[in-house]
Subunit: 301 residues, 2 copies
């Protein structure tokens, strides 16, 4: 049963990952276009990599509201471009100074720092260009609301703000609440945006449904981060595709450093359980969201 369910999910996920790759291939400027080096570097950073967790969440959330694929693929691509830009900037020497990402040299290593800076900047602009120029919602007003949600999730009150809190916490002792506050911004905001944008690309949701989706997204976002912290300790660099053990080396507070490995595992399971509690009211249409929650706590990399 478990095997079958996994195979079904794996097939679904692999199809969407390939679909996402095709969409990103198409929306990223061609490497032949001037400025070529910048466009090559944008494609290097964004293509052929990653689990595409945020696009999978957007596609899965789109199933709740029967969102047309051409709308969901656009919001999924926009969220993924924001995510990739943040990885490129986070890897820079003045931030995490990381040399390996998705099993390849990071963008500033493969190209140079200035180019990587512009890659991140340009990917952010491209995300907003995409979501403004294609139809992604039932009405232009709802589309404006989606752009606002994505901008909020990306900026100083969302992802970039979480990164700033992370910087300030290096070498400090945080409480679990402070750590949670950081991650709700750093990774949670964009994961939540992926779910909300995917759902909004379809028919309307009532406020109780929106609350349920928000609850799911918050739990899944935190579970994802707790697992990241666990994997940074447990997995090898080869499995992760990025440098393992960086958190401890950089003296960063993590769920593992604060709670210990066992309690962190328990927390991930509790968050997983909590995420699933939000889904029954959507019936069978929430099947993929449930499977993604499973995947997030079971993943090995």
């Amino acid at each position: 049963m478990q095997v079958l369910a996994n195979k079904d999910f794996n097939d679904w996920a692999r199809q969407r990952q390939m679909h996402m790759e095709t969409v990103l291939e198409r929306v990223l400027p061609s490497a032949d276009l001037a400025p070529q080096r910048l466009h090559q570097a944008m494609r290097y950073a964004a293509l052929d990599g990653g689990k595409r967790v945020r696009p999978l969440l957007a596609f899965a959330a789109g199933e709740l509201t029967s969102a047309p694929v051409d709308r969901v693929e656009t919001v999924a691509a926009a969220v993924e471009l924001i995510h990739v830009y943040s990885l490129v900037h986070d890897d820079l020497p003045c931030m995490d100074n990381d040399e390996l990402r998705r099993g390849k040299p990071t963008c500033h290593v493969a190209f140079d720092e200035a180019t990587a800076l512009l890659v991140g900047d340009s990917l952010q602009s491209l995300a907003f260009q995409l979501i403004a120029e294609r139809t992604v919602a039932h009405s232009p007003s709802i589309q404006l609301e989606l752009i606002r949600l994505l901008a909020l999730a990306s900026g100083s009150r969302g992802m970039a703000g979480g990164q700033a809190i992370d910087l300030e916490s290096v070498g400090k002792t945080l409480t679990q609440t402070e750590l949670e506050f950081m991650h709700i911004h750093k990774t949670g905001a964009l994961i939540r945006a992926a779910v909300l944008l995917g759902a909004h690309a379809g028919s309307g949701l009532d406020s109780s449904q929106l609350d349920a989706i928000n609850h799911y997204a918050t739990c899944v976002g935190l579970a994802f981060q707790v697992m990241d912290d666990i994997l940074d300790v447990e997995a090898s660099t080869a499995t992760l595709g990025k440098t393992a053990g960086k958190d401890a080396e950089q003296n960063k507070p993590t769920y593992v450093s604060i709670l210990g490995l066992e309690a962190a595992r328990k927390l991930a399971e509790d968050l997983h359980h909590n995420a699933l509690l939000a889904l029954p009211e959507f019936g069978e249409s929430a099947r993929r969201l449930a499977q993604i929650a499973d995947f997030i706590v079971q993943r090995q990399s």
Copy 2:
């Protein structure tokens, strides 16, 4: 006559600059809000500085179409936030490595590199948030088009792309055409966006009017850059508020290095003249756009 006209323009410009300051004060997150250091740095970079040329252009273009002030102020602020983000990133050590901007230490000097990186990233998100969440056009569809224009002007086919071309040209000999291609992207795209967004914030424009505005914006954008190159040679660091003589020191191709000082001055005057040729069809409503063109070639800093 000249003195009176200048006083009239100076008063108009000073009022809009102060107005812009008030709007930016209001839209930037308070320095008390977490993450405080990031918000302090965003305010440090964006407030109390600069000539606000792009907002002035947006306000002036808004007069062509009787754009309501609450719409123009929003597009003006969004364009200025994009401009400020680009300055913060351009000043970073991996780019121009500049320590002085608008008469103050640059953001990464006053704070640190990682914070300056996040300041730029967050200001870009804030620009799109603003222009999505406030009403800036007659209809949500037109508003989506404005967001698309701003994103295009900011990204790899606009400002960030121009910056990449600039990086590739250091130490190279460019033709005047190649230099122009770079500047049409690096500074021209956002200046054009300021004019177009300001005009679109009001009533509709027909295609001949749009062509005329595009022509004006292209000429003024280039004239602005030619004057920048001239001032980098002629003005002092104190007058400029940023380090003078950087272009020659960094072996960057400029209009002065390619054409010589006299021919560069002549080019600025020709562009000025050409910009004004686009305006008569708008009658008195184009008065401020004409005065900004005058100001751009007469400025001393």
